[in-house]
């Protein structure tokens, strides 16, 4: 899923100050799962903002709504009436959702309420970890299912650097050394020979390095 984190309330408040009527628009998929922008977060944020504006002696009209996904037109349409009657949209979706709303409602300002952080997993309750950089050329099979591009701080493809100690990364003892994990997993899989193979320089063209990417599925184009 796309993992995100709600922006600090002060930053959000600052961004909506110029407007009278604002739609707080939640997104019911990824950011809901990571407690950043689902309907619960929309409600909590709306209450908090009302309270803080009231303290300042200012009334603000906040409409609350959450749609299934802000990255698909089908769902965005459900919000079109609400979007049209407000001065601005405070979107609690990921950056993709924010931009999709902006694309479809050109004359209404769309403000981000969430910092989009990474593609990750819910490792355990309350803990989300980054697992994929979306490089566009998946080589997980080689590395025992652990991605060195994402999980090694130096993106090393040919083994651990000299800073791996007790299974931890030199950058931060909170980070597990991806290469220690790769080696441990390859051992379990009986694939330690993979470690001896030279991995040539990665082709980054399929990644963001090649510019913004597009996927065209001719078989689905209408």
């Amino acid at each position: 899923m796309i993992v995100g984190e709600q922006k600090p309330i002060a930053e959000i408040k600052e961004s909506i100050i110029p407007y009278e009527k604002i739609l707080i628009l939640g997104c019911g998929t990824c950011v809901k799962t990571c407690f950043a922008g689902g309907e619960d977060e929309v409600a909590t944020l709306a209450s908090a903002l009302r309270l803080t504006f009231k303290k300042d002696g200012r009334e603000i009209e906040l409409e609350e709504m959450t749609i299934e996904r802000q990255c698909e037109d089908e769902f965005i349409q459900e919000a079109s009436v609400s979007i049209a009657r407000n001065d601005a949209v405070l979107s609690l979706a990921c950056g993709a959702g924010v931009q999709d709303i902006a694309k479809r409602f050109e004359k209404i300002p769309v403000l981000p309420g969430v910092n989009t952080t990474f593609i990750g997993i819910l490792e355990k309750q309350g803990l989300f970890t980054e697992e994929c950089l979306g490089c566009g050329d998946c080589t997980l099979a080689m590395f025992g299912g652990i991605c060195p591009v994402t999980r090694c701080s130096k993106k090393l493809l040919n083994g651990p650097c000299g800073g791996s100690m007790d299974g931890k990364c030199e950058v931060n003892p909170d980070i597990d050394c991806a290469w220690q994990q790769i080696i441990d997993r390859l051992r379990l899989l009986g694939q330690l020979d993979n470690l001896r193979k030279y991995i040539p320089p990665k082709n980054w063209r399929t990644s963001h390095a090649g510019g913004p990417r597009k996927l065209v599925r001719e078989d689905h184009v209408i």
């Binding site: 130096k154 493809l157 083994g159 791996s164 299974g167 470690l195 030279y198 040539p200 980054w204």
Partner: protein
């Protein structure tokens, strides 16, 4: 094409002589005087001098520039180059440029992560890793081509080095990594500082068993300790370094005034032991901001005079 001349370090190592290298960290500024002073302290005592490339991710005078300053003083530089700050385009370009300026040794590294340094907000590059860099320099030398396969009008013929850390984890992988670097084309290895002699011996024993010490020149790293505090700091705070408790105790067991002397003594004992180990072809002295000690260490270790560079 220019006349092909080997680097001094390459000549010494290929003749089977015990090599001595040292290190020079460029200044945080544009003052060449700092490099000159360090160069003066090292000249004549070592066969080549490594010039670090923004070590610990702190912005300094570029490695290439400092290498040229040393070169102009008649000191042979080993240009360190990290993949942290440059993509493959810049790396290849700088290698050609460096060679054109007279630099003939390169040490290929990934580099300390930028979050350790003075500008932790920086974006890193890591387009390729140090293994890829070794192979790139080797392919330039042996095939005369850049990474795209383009024929270079004059290929850089670098003597290629890389680092090895026998003290990092996972231990069993460290020899595999050495073998991979050799396959990629490395000529010489400079190791992380040796304090834990047992572990170093175990590593080189495994390397010898795989026949690796016949295929590459290994220079063991040493760093003289200045104080017990420094020993503790290295042991606890520097990633990938291993200082056994016995060394820390020894440093703590002497008075403050005698600590530096004790540090040099430990260093000399380490060098003496390293010289007896089959498969060790030299030492790399990393006297951090203590370049004035290098001459004394080399002399006391009985490693003077250094072989004259041949014309």
């Amino acid at each position: 094409m220019n006349k092909i001349t080997l680097s001094n370090l390459q000549k010494i190592l290929s003749k089977g002589e015990f090599a001595v290298t040292a290190e020079c960290g460029p200044p945080r500024g544009a003052d060449f005087e700092v490099v000159r002073r360090k160069g003066e302290l090292l000249k004549g005592f070592v066969d080549a001098v490594n010039v670090t490339d923004n070590q610990t991710a702190i912005v300094r005078m570029s490695s290439i520039a400092a290498c040229v300053h040393l070169f102009n003083m008649g000191i042979e530089p080993v240009m360190q180059m990290v993949t942290r700050d440059r993509n493959r385009i810049a790396l290849q370009s700088d290698i050609m440029g460096a060679y054109s300026l007279g630099i003939k040794n390169i040490l290929c590294l990934s580099g300390d992560h930028q979050t350790f340094g003075s500008q932790p907000d920086a974006m890193n590059v890591f387009d390729i890793d140090s293994m890829n860099l070794v192979r790139t320099v080797r392919d330039m030398r042996s095939d005369g081509k850049d990474m795209s396969g383009f024929d270079l009008n004059e290929p850089p013929l670098m003597f290629i080095g890389a680092a090895a850390n026998p003290f990092a984890d996972p231990f069993e992988y460290r020899v595999i990594r050495l073998a991979k670097k050799i396959d990629a084309g490395v000529d010489f290895i400079q190791t992380q500082c040796v304090y834990n002699m047992d572990r170093f011996k175990e590593w080189i024993h495994l390397a010898r068993e795989e026949g690796l010490t016949e295929k590459v020149h290994i220079l063991a790293g040493v760093t003289p300790l200045k104080s017990a505090g420094m020993a503790r700091f290295i042991a606890n705070k520097v990633a990938g370094m291993d200082v056994p408790e016995s060394i820390i105790k020894r440093m703590a067991g002497v008075s403050k005034e005698n600590a530096a002397k004790e540090g040099v003594k430990i260093c000399l004992e380490t060098i003496a032991e390293l010289r007896e180990i089959k498969g060790v072809h030299g030492i790399h002295i990393m006297a951090i901001e203590w370049e004035e000690k290098v001459g004394e260490i080399v002399e006391s270790a009985g490693l003077m005079p250094r072989p004259e560079p041949e014309e």
